[in-house]
Every structure is written in C-alpha cells, then in structure tokens.
C-alpha cells in the first residue's frame, strides 16, 4: 500500500500537439479512494494509464510510495487494473484468470489456490471457478475482473469505468459492494468514471479533469458546495447548476431578470471589478414562492419532471431581454402545471464566477 503522486505529469500523444494530460498535479494518500471524473476525451483514461505505465510520460514524474516510477515498466509497478471491458483471458478459466498474476510472480501453487479461493469467496465467485469467461454473465465477469485485481494485493488499484458495462440496477448494487470492498482492503484506489453519481458516492476525494487539465480536487461535499470554477460548477450536480451571465454593476448586487441579488462588501468589490460575471444557483437553492417585488423572479413553467420524492420545474424567465430557462427543485407530487405563471425566490447560497471562470466568492 502506498500513496501516489503525480508531479506535473504530462502526456502528449505522438502526432498531436495538445497534451492529452497537461501538467497534472495530484497527491493521493495511502488507502484513499480517488475518483477521476470529467467529460469524454478529457484525459481520464490517459491519466490512469500513465500511472499504470501503459502510456509514456512526456514530462514530469509519477511516484508510487517513495519510488519514482516514471520510467518503470508496468509489470514492476505492482498495480492492478480493472478494465472497462474487463480484459479477461478468454482461454483461461476464472480461477486461472485470477491466479495468472500470482503465477507470474512464481508463487507456489497451494498459496495461489488459497488466495484465489479467498477472493472467490469475497466476490461470490466460488461456483464459477472452473468456467470460461464467455460462459459468465456481465456482472460475474465484472467480479472476476475485480477478483483478478484483489488476489494480487497490489500497492494501487486502477479502475477505468469498471461499472459502465453493467445495467443500471446492477451498477448501483456493485457500486456499494465496491466501496465496501475498498474500505475493507484499504488499498489506494484510482477510479475513472464519467458518471458523477459514482464519483460523488465512491470517492474520498474527486478530481475533475477537463481538456487534460485538473480543474479541482476535493471531497465530494466541498466539490458540490464550493466548486472552484465555472466548469466544475456546471459539471458536478444533476440537474446542473443554473449558470447565468449577469452584469457586474457597482458591486452592491447583481440583477437576475427583475430580481436583485444583494452582495456582501468583499464579494461585491470583486464582482464590481468585472463588467460581466456568471451567477450560479443550484436548483435546490431556488424555490417557488409568492411573488414579492424585486426579491422574486416571475416566469412561466415549461416542463415539470416529477420524480415522486421531488420535482424539477423548468421555468422560462426574462433575463437581459432574452428568454432563458431556470431549473428549480420543488416538492414531489407537485400540482404545478405547464404554462403556470410562478415566481422564483432564492433560498440558499449563490456562486459567482469571473470572466475566466474563476470563483469570486
């Protein structure tokens, strides 16, 4: 077990000019579960493969424990990886798949069998040990891939979207088991996903990547309540945070349509320094309220997504002379209907971002 450190690690694929992973700095503590999340093509897999030794590191370095592994080949890094399509050896039985790495290490047969049996017990794979991967269901294959990683007792687990080939229900179930297993084993884990629910529920910390650049690395809670920039604000949270361009004005407050949002002194000064800033409000920090002058914003309901326990109401509002849509979280089983005229009130924190996307408050 060990901590992992990316130090300005950069990967530029041959034949391309832009870095797929650009000067990535990350410190991952021993035993930590770090989730890397980001949109497609943001460099998540590349970052993981750099740690695995499957991609050359063009610049910077990577450490596992005290060891600089920048130039160490994959087989000497003592890491185990779970691939998105599991990459099980098709010609080998489940037991042989799980024991393969141990065999490579020259571990005696009895010990190998003992460790494979132990992993199979943990993962409920005992009845399938003699089967070939093609005769397993998707969920069982996924567990074999996990088993292959855990029998090794490696320094670090790497997982690249390991749940994305499972159906929705199984994914949720496996997610909980995975979190449990990792906590039990206490092995440092780097987990790549594009699913932010996975990121928020699994990670001790979450790292958001975009265009190869690290946007923020923080606990899920902090990521949600204090996104470091506009990108993270829009990316984390479902439905997404409402983000609207507003005039900076004199800094005493910003105007959202006909509603005025007052600002504190210090925040107001940094907002007042820009002609235009981005105001962000999460749907659950808005509410449908009785109309109240410039403290509320009138609008017309366009869509109601009622999920039973809660409802997301999409509302067309007039802002800066244009019609834009704002999402408000309301009560479930609501009686708001399309085309109703409503008023929106602010009931929670706001986020302000400067023209470069940086957080202002």
């Amino acid at each position: 077990m060990a901590q992992v450190r990316y130090d300005e690690a950069t990967r530029i694929y041959p034949g391309t000019d832009i870095a797929a992973v650009d000067r990535l700095d990350l410190d991952i503590a021993d035993g930590e579960f770090l989730v890397v999340v980001g949109p497609s093509g943001s460099g998540k897999s590349t970052a993981l493969r750099m740690l695995a030794g499957l991609e050359f590191i063009d610049n910077g370095s990577i450490h596992i424990g005290e060891r600089d592994v920048t130039l160490v080949p994959p087989k000497e890094r003592d890491i185990a990886m779970v691939f998105q399509n599991y990459a099980l050896y098709p010609q080998m039985s489940v037991a042989a798949n799980m024991g393969f790495a141990l065999k490579q290490q020259g571990i005696p047969k009895e010990e190998r069998q003992r460790r494979v049996a132990e992993a199979a017990r943990i993962l409920d794979l005992e009845p399938y040990l003699e089967r070939k991967p093609k005769n397993l269901s998707g969920g069982q294959r996924q567990r074999v891939a996990m088993g292959r990683a855990i029998v090794r007792e490696p320094q670090v687990f790497l997982m690249d979207e390991p749940l994305s080939n499972l159906d929705a229900k199984l994914r949720v179930q496996t997610r909980t088991q995975l979190a449990d297993l990792q906590a039990d084993l206490g092995v440092t884990t780097v987990y790549v996903t594009h699913d932010q629910v996975e990121a928020m529920t699994l990670g001790d910390r979450v790292a958001v990547l975009e265009s190869g650049k690290l946007q923020q690395c923080a606990s899920p809670r902090e990521m949600y309540s204090r996104p470091a920039n506009r990108f993270v604000a829009g990316f984390i949270g479902s439905p997404a945070m409402n983000l609207l361009e507003v005039d900076g004005g004199d800094g005493s407050g910003v105007a959202l349509g006909s509603m005025t949002v007052p600002l504190d002194g210090e925040v107001g000064r940094s907002v007042g320094a820009h002609p235009s800033v981005t105001l962000g409000v999460r749907p659950e920090h808005l509410a449908l309220v009785p109309s109240d002058g410039d403290r509320t914003l009138p609008g017309r309901v366009s869509v109601v997504e009622d999920l039973g326990s809660e409802a997301f109401v999409h509302i067309d509002v007039e802002h800066r002379g244009e019609t834009t849509q704002i999402v408000v979280r309301g009560e479930g089983e609501s009686d708001v209907r399309r085309d109703d005229n409503v008023a929106i009130g602010l009931g929670g924190p706001i986020h302000l971002f400067g023209p470069g996307g940086e957080r202002l408050n």
């Binding site: 695995a52 030794g53 087989k75 990886m81 990459a87 050896y89 098709p90 010609q91 490579q104 292959r148």
Partner: protein
C-alpha cells in the same frame, strides 16, 4: 434479394451444384482412375468397372533403382515439417514487432517482406543453384528446408500480423500489468487467442511446401527428392500410366487433406473460444 423467390433460389442452387461438381469432377475422376486397370483408364474410359488395388500395389512396390514412395515421403515430411516450424518460429516475433509494438518504419518492413515474392522464382534459380553447389548442399533435404522457409516466411508474417492485430490490446496490457514477461505475454495471451490464425498460417505453409515442385526438381533431383517428384516418376515412356499416375496423385493428396482436416478442427475450436469481452 429481400423476398426469396423459390424458383430463383432453386435455379441458383442448381447452378452452384453444377459449378461445384464441375470443379470436383477431375478430382473424382482421378481417384476413380486409381482403382482401374490401365486399359479401363486410357483407351475406353469407363465409369463402371471392376475396382482393383493393383495400381496401389504397383506404386507401393515401385521400380528398381527409382525413388520409392517411402523415401519421397520421408524427404517431404522433413522438408515440410521443419520448414513450417522454422517459419512459425521466425514469423511470430516478426509479426509481433509489426503489429502489437510496431517498430519504426514497419510499413517499409512489411513491404520488403512481400517484395521478395515479386521476383519470379525461375529468375533466381541459377544463382540459387550455384550457391547451393558452392555450399555443397545440392541434393539434400537441407536446401529444401532453407528455401521453403524463405518461400513461406513473407506470407506467414503478413498473415500472423493481421491475426495479431485482432488480439484486443487490453488483454496484452492486462498481462503486462499482471507481470508477464514479453515471452509470457506472447505464449499465454497472444498465441492462444491467435491460435486459429496460427493454424491457418501453418496449414498454408504445409500446403505450399508439400506441393512445391519447381525448386525440388531443380535443386534436388536425386537423393532428397520429394513426393511431387515421386508422382512424376510414375510417368512412363513405355505403355500406359494414367491409372498408376492417378493412384500416385491420390496418395500425394492425402497428407494435405489430413493436415487441412486437423487444422480446421483447431481453427473451429479457436473460434468457438471467442467471447473476449
């Protein structure tokens, strides 16, 4: 072709059978001839006749002083088996270096391999003969082994390369992370998955080497002669020989058929393994 017209598909089926039989007939006739008396085979071709095994007895006993089937078969077996093994041993690493971890200028290398086949073999036979004479390996199995290896290597490299390319990259990466050495990756992951391709490649090498006649006749006319040369030795200048030649040809075809059958089983087993995901 959206709706199946029964008359149309019947006619197509008929045509297919006709073409198939057209191609198969000469082979069938050859096999049939091998069980005839010379007279039945030559002067007055018959479809119905009294089958006899005499022609097979003739070719088995052979003529005094001439190449016997046993010798020819041993020579062929040596040349074919050893050259095919050599080809695979050389082609596997070459194909690896051209597909899974491509060397610099791999396209040029690939082209070079196939370019060695551009030259008609007749154009090279004299230098080959002189080299073989200088090395004192004329009329040996060795010269055929070397030449058959060289002859089949380009094809084998090309074929194996395309089969290796089909091996999912994640599997090789998984093996790397599992600590397998390069050899381990090739023997425990790549080759088992590419086994059908390996079998197909080996089969082609065996067929080409087994049937090779030109080099064998030029460089190896006496001691190390192979089965194709033995077949022609059944051509006689006195009297009829068609039935006997047919029997010899049939015997010469059998090993290739058996090799094909064995390889096919291997190929199907490999395909059935499937399910990489």
């Amino acid at each position: 072709m959206t709706e199946s017209n029964p008359i149309r598909s019947f006619l197509l089926g008929l045509l297919t059978w006709f073409i198939g039989l057209l191609f198969f007939f000469p082979v069938f006739w050859m096999v049939l001839n091998g069980f005839k008396e010379e007279a039945d085979a030559n002067t007055d071709p018959k479809l119905f006749f009294d089958p006899t095994l005499d022609r097979y007895r003739d070719i088995a006993s052979g003529d005094q002083g001439l190449l016997s089937f046993g010798e020819a078969f041993t020579n062929s077996a040596w040349a074919v088996i050893v050259s095919t093994i050599l080809v695979l041993i050389l082609a596997v690493p070459a194909a690896y270096a051209l597909s899974i971890r491509p060397v610099a200028k791999w396209r040029d290398v690939l082209f070079f391999f196939i370019s060695t086949k551009f030259l008609p073999i007749v154009a090279a036979i004299l230098p080959l003969w002189i080299i073989a004479r200088e090395l004192d390996i004329l009329n040996t199995r060795l010269v055929l082994i070397v030449l058959y290896t060289a002859m089949n290597l380009p094809l084998a490299v090309w074929m194996l390369r395309s089969f290796f390319q089909e091996v999912p990259r994640e599997l090789i990466e998984a093996a790397q992370l599992d600590g397998a050495s390069l050899r381990g990756q090739i023997t425990s992951v790549i080759l088992p998955i590419a086994a059908p391709g390996l079998a197909a490649t080996a089969l082609l090498c065996v067929i080409f080497a087994w049937n090779e006649f030109f080099l064998a006749v030029q460089l190896n006319p006496v001691d190390g002669s192979t089965v194709p040369i033995w077949v022609t030795s059944n051509v006689s200048t006195r009297g009829n020989f068609l039935a006997r030649l047919s029997a010899a040809s049939t015997v010469a075809t059998l090993p290739v058929l058996i090799a094909g059958w064995v390889a096919q089983k291997r190929m199907i087993r490999g395909l059935a393994m499937g399910a990489i995901k």
